[in-house]
Assembly symmetry: C2
Homo-oligomer: 434 residues x 2
């Protein structure tokens, strides 16, 4: 393991470009799984991804220099997957499966480059869009978010002195350790790093992953970040994301096709992957609607990932559905991944322990929790709710309803139509902090 | 400034010898000032220095490997002052004085090497003695203490994992910063690092000095450590120590000479140094006795360093004496240096502020405060009260009474004789923690 004095590094990066994304594998593992399927089944679909800053009060374009942002995005476009990385992808076992990536996909991936981007400043925010084939544009989501979040961190720390930086990282490490000590008290915990997109910085995410690896041992099951999984020798973690049902739904030619889209996607998934990769993400158009129409075969899948419902209510809803479908929840897996931090992890763990298998995907509050860590208050280091979502497919608008209406995306008219087709959700609007 | 990731360094030092003392200037500045005077006035006096561990419950010889200790002591003996260091000593201004070190002394110092040592294990402790000319043996005090203290730290951390080490240093930095923030609230504070002998490690002391330099600015007046003063470009701080009156007293041929010894020493000092170096260390045989017999000319000196009385009572005693001698205490300096930490610094500062000039020499609790910092309790990192004192001069026993009888050294018979000659002190015995 190479240990880096993070404070020194931040202090020193006055050179032209300190690359934020150093590898195309510095992305979430599920992107690669989805990409293989998209390339196999939907190679000609166009999909546009767009940046949205849900924390509108933070005027990103006033904080981040546009030229710096372009330099980082351009640098990411210069990357391709290295020989060493290709060997690792081809030779490694993921989720217990050898050669999960097929040779023709890997051959294609070896030539992959990120497509062009469109960047404009509009009213203090960046309008950042990626247009083109779904197979190309979807790979921008994670690096684009990581770049903007880290450029914002750097801007917030630009005027800090050497010792202030050192103490800030020292405090953040101490705070992180308090969390680790609490997690150590949860027997048979299973937790992973899901913090790539919102991370404070690459080096800090690496520190967090290495810290969890040493501090939690077996309880730390891995990282969603492919590069860090490779570098720190932990498992790569992740299954599928909202973009699959969102694109599928956008392409639907009738309300009937729209209603069936979430299940069609999962049938396709099943044709590519098995075992612990069979995890349902049910909330794209509301979990209640999803479960009402869910076919029996989905009850045989390994688990569900409730991603926008409150974790306890969301988990109970899925357990009740499993029981209705004749399944024993103790054989099933719930993956929690929405805005988790130590309190909600503990609460959720204790609530469900013994009744269902659980794992936790810990994101923003793992890799970007610098609140209160600076010697003088620095709100520029507080995490924001920045997303990069598919906004249209083949020119048709894409929509997400979610179990929290604050997370809904899409035009008002389309959201209205989807709500009519899928029905209203059962959860209230809740503030989205991260 | 070269920033070192301390945790990484500690983790990595599995190579044969990670030298603790890397330079003969890694010692306290007052040693050099005293050495110049001793060489000039007492070049033929023999003085034996001996190690005493006042924290007897810590069995050092069970913790520290004797071979490692010998290797470190032998390494220190291999050192001489480098060309670059000699230039700095000759060319620098100390306490506002150019060429404070005379050319013939520097010429002699350039050839200086530490003399042999005698090391034995006795009942779980190390018996470590340095015999020979005072001009040679006195230079062992600081490196010997620094070596043993750091070997003990290393032993205490040997089984800690990478992340535990990192978190330990992170927490220690955060704790240190809390102290700095409190010190920032004290206007016209003057504070210096006196922590060489008891430091956790060389790298940690360097971090503390750099942190104080950045965090306190002008309020941080420098370090007693000559090497760190040179490397971090701060003032070298220090005046004189107990060994001067102790040796002088041991050589006295009558009770009258004994009683006069503390003042004879200061008259000698005055023949070598002036200005802010005229600081009286009054407690060697009890401050009350010292002040009773003190000549008028001592009232003209810049200040006093009460080193074993409780700071407020000790300071008041000296202020009362100045007033009795017709001096205005607001023109005078009190240097506090005994077991200080943030609470006692604040309390002493507020008590005397506006009535007298003050400066603080912050030692063990600056450079070795790891209490409660490790993820699991590790009392091996708690500082201990280890001293290396002159024990005899020209074969005659040396004695220190001090204002705290727990700090008295010397044979019972000699201590009794000194108490008869100087009279009893006015302070109670107090536990010596550091």
């Amino acid at each position: 393991m190479v240990a880096t004095d993070i404070a020194t590094r931040v202090w020193n990066h006055t050179f032209k470009l300190d690359p934020i994304v150093r590898s195309l594998l510095d992305t979430d593992f599920y992107k690669l799984l989805m990409l293989q399927m998209i390339r196999g089944l939907h190679p000609d679909v166009d999909a546009t991804f767009s940046l949205t800053n849900r924390t509108a009060s933070v005027r990103l374009a006033d904080i981040i220099d546009e030229d710096e942002l372009r330099a980082q995005l351009d640098h990411a476009r210069s990357l391709s997957i290295s020989h060493r990385e290709m060997i690792w992808l081809a030779g490694n076992t993921f989720y217990g499966t050898r050669q999960i990536f097929r040779p023709d996909f890997l051959e294609w991936l070896a030539r992959f480059r990120l497509p062009p981007y469109e960047l404009r400043r509009v009213d203090g925010q960046f309008e950042l869009r990626f247009e083109g084939r779904w197979t190309d544009t979807m790979m921008w989501e994670i690096p684009a978010l990581a770049i903007i979040n880290e450029l914002r961190s750097r801007a917030a720390m630009r005027d800090m002195k050497r010792f202030e930086l050192d103490v800030t990282y020292a405090r953040a490490k101490a705070k992180m350790w308090e969390k680790v000590q609490r997690l150590q008290k949860l027997p048979d915990l299973r937790i992973s790093d899901f913090g790539t997109r919102r991370r404070h910085s690459f080096l800090w995410q690496r520190w967090c992953v290495e810290a969890l690896k040493e501090g939690l041992g077996e309880a730390f099951i891995g990282s969603s970040n492919v590069l860090l999984a490779m570098e720190t020798d932990v498992e790569a973690i992740g299954t599928n994301a909202h973009e699959l049902p969102m694109v599928r739904a956008a392409l639907a030619r009738s309300d009937e096709e729209l209603l069936a889209a979430p299940y069609r996607v999962l049938a396709e998934w099943q044709s590519y992957y098995g075992g612990n990769l069979l995890v349902v993400l049910p909330d794209t158009f509301g979990t209640a609607a999803f479960l009402r129409g869910a076919p029996q075969w989905l009850a045989d899948w390994t688990g569900f990932r409730p991603d926008s419902a409150p974790p306890i209510e969301g988990g109970e809803e899925i357990i009740a559905w499993w029981q209705k479908m004749g399944q024993d929840p103790r054989d099933k897996l719930l993956v929690f991944s929405d805005g988790l931090d130590i309190d909600s992890i503990e609460k959720t763990y204790h609530h469900f322990h013994g009744r269902v298998r659980m794992s936790f995907g810990w994101g923003t509050n793992l890799t970007n929790d610098f609140r209160g860590m600076t010697p003088t208050p620095n709100p520029g280091l507080d995490p924001i709710s920045l997303v990069c979502k598919v906004s249209s497919a083949n020119g048709r608008p894409a929509v997400k309803l979610s179990d929290n209406s604050a997370k809904a995306t899409g035009s008002a008219a389309e959201v209205e139509r989807y709500r009519r087709v899928f029905g209203q959700g059962v959860y209230d609007r809740r503030e989205v902090l991260v």
